[in-house]
């Protein structure tokens, strides 16, 4: 089970409305390499992991990704808060507003709804952990792109925190992979 803590993992400061940036942040909210994909990917793959290290790590990183999903949603919520519908339309969010108003709907920056097709769970721990490491690097790259796309010091600060977490998760997944590989090698038979 999970128990909610009524706080963000990291503060979200937004200095002014920025509709375009809210739209771009949707990449990390409902896109292929989003925090949502990360959470569902890890919390799905953990059941078929062969080591306790990998089961624990996927559970804990999957849980942290849910907190990151909440942080990205908070940035989007604050960036469009109070903006009139006409301005949203002028900034290219007219179609989004028609369907979702200012709700934070899990779609990517182009409006494509989130899908489980973005993730994989093969039942093969070596394949899954490699996917996880690649996913962390793709998310790191996306955060670096997003940092370049805003001048808001608050948004930049939060994005830097999220980027750094991808680097740490990559490191930890690499360690779990080595552990799983050692187990597989010890069981090898021909």
């Amino acid at each position: 089970m999970w128990i909610y803590e009524k706080k963000l993992e990291y503060p979200v400061r937004v200095y002014k409305n920025d509709i375009g940036m809210a739209r771009l942040l949707m990449a990390q909210y409902g896109g292929p390499d989003s925090e949502l994909s990360a959470a569902v990917r890890y919390l799905t793959q953990r059941y078929t992991m062969p080591t306790n290290k990998a089961k624990g790590l996927l559970t804990d990183i999957g849980t942290e990704e849910m907190a990151h999903w909440e942080i990205v949603a908070t940035m989007i919520y604050k960036l469009v808060k109070g903006v009139p519908a006409k301005q949203l339309r002028e900034a290219g969010l007219g179609a989004y507003f028609a369907e979702h108003d200012r709700a934070v709907y899990p779609a990517d920056a182009a409006g494509m709804p989130w899908t489980a097709a973005y993730i994989q769970a093969t039942g093969d721990p070596i394949a899954d952990l490699h996917e996880d490491m690649a996913a962390e690097q793709k998310a790191r790259a996306t955060y670096e792109h997003l940092i370049q796309l805003t001048d808001d010091p608050g948004v930049k600060d939060t994005l830097r925190f999220l980027r750094q977490r991808e680097v740490v998760h990559f490191q930890r997944f690499g360690e779990a992979l080595n552990d799983v590989q050692a187990l597989m090698d010890s069981k090898k038979f021909f």
């Binding site: 993992e9 290290k53 804990d60 908070t74 930890r172």
Partner: protein, 85 residues
């Protein structure tokens, strides 16, 4: 609100260290120094959360907030509504 925010930031900082050590310990369960750091930080974090909840209400629905009428859990601000300085 300033006092509340500074207490909340303190909790966020302590919990960040705890999360970082949590993930590290998942792949290094025998690291005694990291274990010691984790338990030290966890104690500080629990104390900070307890102190916050006594004054400002529950951060956790099963936490240390005092019994209160009416149900205080739903009171604002929710996490996405907080204006950080």
């Amino acid at each position: 609100m300033d006092k509340r925010l500074s207490m909340l930031k303190e909790i966020q900082a302590l919990e960040f260290v705890a999360i970082e050590l949590n993930l590290y310990l998942d792949t290094h369960p025998g690291d005694r120094a990291a274990l010691r750091d984790f338990y030290t930080i966890r104690d500080k974090l629990f104390a900070a959360i307890e102190c916050y909840e006594k004054t400002y209400g529950p951060l956790r629905v099963f936490g240390d907030a005092p019994s209160q009428y009416p149900w205080p859990w739903i009171e604002d601000p929710w996490p996405w509504e907080i204006e950080y300085k």
